[in-house]
Symmetry: C2
Subunit: 244 residues, 2 copies
Amino acid sequence: MTASPAPHLPGAVLRPVRGHHAFEACVEQLATAIRLGVYPLGSTLPPERELATMLHVSRATLREAMAALREAGLVQTTRGRGGGTVVTLKPRTPPARAAARISAARRGDWLDALEFRRIVEPGAAYLAASATLDQEHLGQLERAHAEVAAATKTAQHRQADSRFHLTIASLSGSPRTVEAVTSVQATLHEMLLAIPVLGTNIAHSDRQHAALVRAIESGNAERARKTMEQHCDDTAALLRGLVG
Amino acid sequence: MTASPAPHLPGAVLRPVRGHHAFEACVEQLATAIRLGVYPLGSTLPPERELATMLHVSRATLREAMAALREAGLVQTTRGRGGGTVVTLKPRTPPARAAARISAARRGDWLDALEFRRIVEPGAAYLAASATLDQEHLGQLERAHAEVAAATKTAQHRQADSRFHLTIASLSGSPRTVEAVTSVQATLHEMLLAIPVLGTNIAHSDRQHAALVRAIESGNAERARKTMEQHCDDTAALLRGLVG
DNA sequence: GAAAAATGGTATGAACTCAGACCATTGCTT
DNA sequence: AAGCAATGGTCTGAGTTCATACCATTTTTC
């Protein structure tokens, strides 16, 4: 008798200590940031030394990642003062949707992301509405909203939408919340790329966005959360059918 | 003009690609699992080869971590068939609370964890109540609840409480949710160790636990969430005062 | 009692990552 | 035109981590 052995938790609690090699992780983070529109088309990434510091990675490793991005056509690099790495982002439509016969594990992760999203994004909206926002924050929010409302092409709209949601998360002032929303948005983005593009009801979505902005600006936390919940539910309903 | 340069998001979105060396991460995960009571006193950890696989780490690296745990007095190891590594856990009260003059960064992370917790744990409760639970799940939940209600000594109670919350998370069936709750509970645990132990109002806490179990078993998701929110708020109120 | 099985203990060479220094190119300032 | 500054490009040696064997000890099985 080795005393009460562990119950059911170990399998759930212990998780891989790190997904992959450092440079792969860099590629993933940067590519995600670019695809989500954190660095829009034509913008310049921070200098290598700075990025390396941000990611807690040696410059050598970061450079390997940059080389990969360059080879993938996401960025271009020029030397010398005023040079740097700019985003070119050939949107790289899903590398052959045909090949994307979605594995069961991936599908499971997607569905999980939808569930988790319906927890964290409403939570982020709640926090954002609870926070006291200065002019700069309000400006960020309204700008993000204006961009998503103005976007016409789907790819643009997708990026602007990601940026909008990430902006709300960043207004929450909670790093863990930002991280969770980033992860969820990345997966969402992946799903939308792999799934036969559905004509997202943009008008409907924009009405919800507008309501969100109003709720957050007026500090109505409860309402911001409800609105975001509805927004997540609407998106999820569309996607679940096509994935499940 | 390098096109719309990135706004405010990069700083929030890009995060360290991996905190530390692999073996440190192993130590942290295992120590956390032990302290949270996933592996209770006297229980045997899985064989090294198995743990290494779970954590996606080479056995060599895992063994370094085990050596550290052994040296720290958390576990003991015996060889041969039927041997293995058992939890001895000299509870190691906070390695000198005096030395724990808490850095500002740490304090910030703690407060962030409290905010994030109030998002994810209620969400986990909501999902758990929404899920259809079979006999085994119900048994896990009731056992976890019984243990936390029966615990007398504070250290025991703390572990049982962690297990209770992790069990609810695991009932949600959402890996991302489990991960989030695990992270939050680990930080909470750290806080409680470093803070002059307050006589948590155990009776009050247990009433809330009981209400949670009822709500989850009856499938009342909305109510489970509200109850958990209240529970988190009550805990947070106590802690914020002592940390802020 | 002998063989098998399960477990921890040890060793080796390849690959990855790091930190730091230095080089090369380009634009800005004087 | 000369020098400075900012940026990417290259090199090197040390430290980690990995994968894969193989060894040693104990219990179980026959």
